[in-house]
Symmetry: D3
Subunit: 138 residues, 6 copies
């Protein structure tokens, strides 16, 4: 069970309800995920989190689907069951094919293994990759 | 310091050297990363890891750059310093712009925060996302 | 399901039952949490864990509630569902208000994000924070 | 080495420099931590992160020192060397005594152990702690 | 619910079914674990994972039971509920007594605590343990 | 740099020095690891940690070397550089051959991959592994 009540629209404050409305408008759906209803117990945190999510997940140098794939991969690495269920649904809705999902997860599995090789054997960064980047490079 | 010696080509067994050669040929470079030189202490593991890496990172439903981005994201989630240095270099070589790197990391930061919200508040998966996928959907 | 049976008072050894009794006396309750009933399968480990918990959670330079807040925060970082449920209950019993819980979790979310920034970008410790502390400082 | 250049005031954009100035004014110091100089490569992310940090770490239902202690605890759980160095310094500056630091870390150690007991033995949440909280409870 | 359907023998491709058959033959059982049925959605990954598992878990310098114990310990550290349930069953089937299981988990708890001490206090590796191993030592 | 001074025998309290002496006597060496010198800043925690380490690592149903192997595996999973360096040295001193080390780490790599498969695909525990163990089974 969640550690906080999941607030309905009626239970939420006006400030929280405004975020619910923006979620609905932005996503073109009537449905508001339970994570937002849990966050609604603190409207300032709800607002800050939603605004940041909207800003970060908007397409830019990376398209919206690539961002969803990265999000799913991080959720797998962080062992977040809630996030894996909701964001694979979201990625599929944005065009992730089953072949793409399979390849995505295979990169996650490979990195899980090779990350552990580098950590487990305490391999230090090769001299050529340890150079500081030049300020003008960014 | 690494917990195993980093084997030079001379110190490596014939089986390990063959993997070094395939790494050079596949990547079109003379340079073999230190993680492979550490793995060379066990040629069977070196071979298995390299073959799996070659298979998984090859372009398919996802292109090679997208796979590198996912690899970098997982390495950040797993706190692998070695992997972050080598695979950001690799992603840049495959075309990752600084804007792409910035957006990639911002998705990693966002997921780190929202994964922790879902976990910290113990939000259960919404009923609509908890349905089993149909076998024919894959 | 737990990987070990949860021992009732009748099933537990005399040594384990003595720990159950001390838990009841220390907490002023008749209820013994299931984690202790699982640990009771190894009375020596049960005793060592309980004694350490009693020692560490006792008020000292930090009061009992602050210690519970820290415990909840670490449990969120470690993704421990059992610990989050039992220790938020315990913190509430010790006086954690809903406003305190909200602020506590917001620090956890923030640190989850900024920890990932520092790790993801591999920022090295500033020279001024990398000084060794003086022995007489402690 | 950091994966992005650490921007000096001269190298930073006007938007990033404004954040640097706010950091200096808020903290009453001339010094800007390297993590902010790394984030300055993306001024929008720098601004969002700093604003959120200022909002969350401000005293409220929890005082500023308690928030720093929680931040340090989460950084230890997340294995963030950078954050441990900078935020223990910050906590000491805000009044954390050595006795408080010792007790703080002991709670972190204890939770690391008992979190692992609950996870390792797969103990399910006791019925009495698995009740949904009432909406009016928050 | 799993994010991919668990394929029955009828639903699986010929390549996946061949792996199922090898799992049955290798383990001397009719039962195929659900993790393999999930992986069967990508027969190449299923085959690669099973072959690697067969290679790595075979007795060698370490016997089969010791390998299972290590596998259980890592699964506890990684918070993998599925793996803890299936591999403690597997370890018990290979001869793990309840006393062995108890001692195994106690080492996991101890390492969870002392790993966090070393990380939390940022203790650097003692000079004498930071020496590079000699190539001929392996 | 460590966040606490590493206390010499002269700087340590009598209670801490007694633990140093017991470490020397138990291990048959003049050398005391830096982690104990950091913990010496809090003699009660030093004593509790050392006593627990002595109790848990003593041979029992599992021999001392097997316990060291498990400790190394958990340290790799937890990304503890300090612990990996000191406990691989300790395991080698207790008889771990290079072949054993290689196989140990290969199990760690495999579990890192397959743990992530089970987590990433959210595979639920098979019915047959989800049965509660009988009290008399332990």
């Amino acid at each position: 069970m969640a550690l906080l009540p999941l607030l309905t629209d009626q239970q939420a404050s006006a400030r929280a309800r405004a975020v619910f409305d923006d979620i609905r408008a932005t996503r073109g759906t009537d449905y508001v995920n339970d994570i937002w209803r849990a966050l609604a117990n603190d409207p300032a945190q709800l607002e800050a989190t939603w605004n940041e999510a909207k800003r970060v997940m908007a397409p830019g140098a990376l398209d919206a689907l690539t961002k969803e794939l990265v999000y799913v991969a991080v959720s797998a690495a962080n062992n977040c069951s809630y996030c894996l269920h909701t964001h694979t649904a979201s990625a599929r809705a944005k065009g992730m094919s089953e072949a793409m999902f399979s390849e995505l997860m295979q990169v996650v599995y490979l990195a899980s293994l090779t990350n552990r090789v580098a950590i487990g054997l305490q391999v230090e960064v090769d001299q050529r990759y340890a150079q500081p980047p030049a300020p003008d490079a960014s």
